[in-house]
């Protein structure tokens, strides 16, 4: 058996700091220290939206013009310098605070979401997230985000009813801001720099939800995944949301059997010979979580049971598929192919409404590995300036 197990690497993304005097504080001086090119356009949402599409900046929805005043105001409510380099994108383009803020302004994201957006960008640019493949692939993959900590309520990140989409909060604008950064900084443009065959609704507004950690029988995801308590965001790649309905089961094992079998289909990326390994993210609703935890109090046991069911018989595959899967050692002694190499690679979190009945499947792209980052606490720039 030569199945390649998922072990995180020690590689770290390099984001050297850049530039200049900080004498004026994060709010800036009278002198111009925003370095982006300025373009002239008409002063209206409609005109700017058309302009943005002509420039290749837009996503088709109305956009707020990122004027100097709006960008500076957004910055002034945080304590980040605009030239600060947060990450290098796959093509080595620089994602600075300035570029993040410009896109966040365009999306209508609130100023107090900056640290969450920064943490999200830091997460997806970790080498193990494999953004190079996520960006370019023919798959409909996009980064999804699970938020832990008090910031969920402060930013109204949904984690209850409708958490995977459709709840009317500014979390939608935060998700959209990240998507605009993916487009304008990471250069993810369909048919040009991404070959996604179908794309996904998630490539417009993103997917950002919280974990209902108060209803979870287990430790919060960020703590389990990276040892981070409090405000944190976990980025994972997903090819979409998948609903799993179970109105019949009554016990932990029965629920987990349904979930495991439901996420296992031959054409899922995790069973493709093109991907030797994969993670799988699954949202369990609070009602089911409580039922499951009565029988399986430790999350590791839950993962193991679920993992055993998240497998397909090798004879589901045709010979050409099997040739490659066999070469990778993915056919186990029991004649099955498992969705993930090990139970730990099934990433579980608790979310959703209290009606129960459903679970949320979030298949991975494949080799992209979930990354968790702490979210820094922002202090308003004028306070920082005063302190300096």
């Amino acid at each position: 058996m030569s199945i390649h197990l998922i072990k995180p690497s020690n590689r770290k993304s390099t984001t050297p700091k850049t530039l200049v005097s900080r004498d004026c504080g994060p709010a800036g001086c009278e002198v111009d220290w925003l370095t982006s090119r300025r373009l002239d356009t008409e002063d209206s949402i409609e005109a700017f939206t058309d302009f943005s599409l002509e420039q290749g900046w837009g996503d088709g929805l109305p956009l707020i013009p990122p004027t100097d005043a709006r960008v500076r105001l957004f910055l002034s409510e945080n304590d980040r310098y605009p030239d600060e380099l947060i990450a290098r994108m796959p093509d080595s383009s620089e994602c600075t605070v300035e570029k993040i803020v410009i896109n966040a302004v365009m999306a209508g994201a609130p100023a107090d979401s900056l640290e969450l957006i920064i943490a999200a960008i830091e997460a997806i640019t970790e080498p193990d997230f494999e953004l190079y493949g996520v960006n370019a692939t023919t798959a409909p993959v996009y980064p999804g985000f699970i938020v832990n900590g008090p910031i969920r309520d402060a930013l109204k990140i949904p984690y209850s009813y409708g958490c995977a989409g459709g709840v009317a909060t500014k979390a939608n604008a935060i998700g959209r801001a990240i998507r605009l950064i993916m487009r304008n900084v990471a250069g993810q443009v369909a048919g040009v720099t991404t070959q996604t065959t179908f794309g996904s609704p998630g490539r417009l507004g993103g997917l950002i939800m919280g974990e209902w950690e108060e209803k979870s029988p287990w430790a919060p995801l960020a703590e389990r995944h990276a040892g981070i308590k409090g405000n944190a965001v976990t980025a994972f790649s997903t090819i979409g949301t998948m609903n799993i309905l179970d109105t019949t089961s009554s016990g932990a094992l029965a629920f987990l059997e349904m979930i495991g079998k439901s996420v296992s289909y031959a054409g899922a990326n995790c069973f493709s010979p093109a991907m030797e390994f994969s993670e799988m993210t699954i949202g369990i609703n609070p009602i089911c979580a409580e039922i499951i935890a009565r029988e399986l109090p430790t999350i590791e046991d839950v993962q193991e049971v679920l993992w055993k069911y998240a497998a397909v018989p090798a004879d589901w595959f045709q010979r050409l598929h099997l040739n490659q899967l066999e070469a990778q050692g993915r056919i186990r002694e029991d004649g099955k192919i498992y969705a993930t190499p090990e139970p730990k690679d099934v990433i579980l979190f608790v979310c959703g409404g209290l009606g129960g009945l459903h679970a949320l499947g979030l298949h991975s792209f494949g080799s992209s590995l979930a990354q968790t980052k702490e979210i820094a606490t922002a202090a308003p720039a004028h306070e920082v300036q005063a302190a300096e």
Binding site: I6, S9, S36, R38, P65, T67, V185, Q195
Partner: protein
């Protein structure tokens, strides 16, 4: 008349570029030629086998490096392994750009080879030709050599792929700036 405003550009692109295709592969006899393979495209396995045989017949030494997953500990090992392999070859033939992420990695590895000073040609199928050039440009090597094979290709049987390998070999040599022997080069 509507008022005018100035807006800030939300985009970022790297500004540097190397438009050079890099050195010609030259006379292949006596050279060390490396094929970069992947785990997906058996058509590229078949074509590289065919071409490797021709290179060996011409007096070249041939090696293969197979790309697997690029994340986690395995990805770290892949990066080390690629760097080490590039030091053992004079000419890189890097494939296969035949999907989105695989084009991404093909071009990324080809750029790594070209930046290491190795005479490098990336191999793409027709549907991914433009994408390969786009990624090469965004990766700072707009002049990267790209040889284009027909599409679809992987869906063909071995018997159907062999004629493609034969038909596109001369074109590969041309894009590589290569000749099999000094006599051919002189001719």
């Amino acid at each position: 008349m509507m008022a005018r405003i100035k807006v800030l550009d939300p985009t970022a692109n790297r500004s540097d570029d190397n438009a050079s295709p890099g050195p010609d592969a030259g006379v292949l006899a006596g050279k060390r030629i490396g094929f970069r393979l992947d785990q997906i495209w058996r058509c590229w396995d078949l074509i590289s086998e065919n071409w490797a045989e021709k290179f060996r017949d011409a007096g070249a030494e041939v090696s293969f490096w197979r790309s697997t997953n690029r994340s986690g500990e395995e990805g770290e090992e892949q990066a080390r392994s690629l760097d080490a392999w590039l030091k053992t070859i004079d000419v890189a033939v890097v494939g296969l750009a035949n999907c989105g992420s695989c084009t991404g990695w093909t071009i990324r590895d080809a750029i790594a080879a070209a930046n290491a000073g190795v005479a490098t040609t990336a191999i793409a199928t027709k549907n991914f030709e433009e994408f390969a050039h786009e990624l090469a440009a965004r990766g700072g090597r707009s002049g990267l050599r790209v040889h284009v094979l027909p599409y679809p290709l992987n869906e063909l049987s071995r018997e159907e792929v062999e004629p493609v390998a034969e038909a596109y070999f001369a074109g590969a040599l041309e894009v590589m700036g290569a000749s099999l022997s000094a006599q051919e080069k002189a001719a």
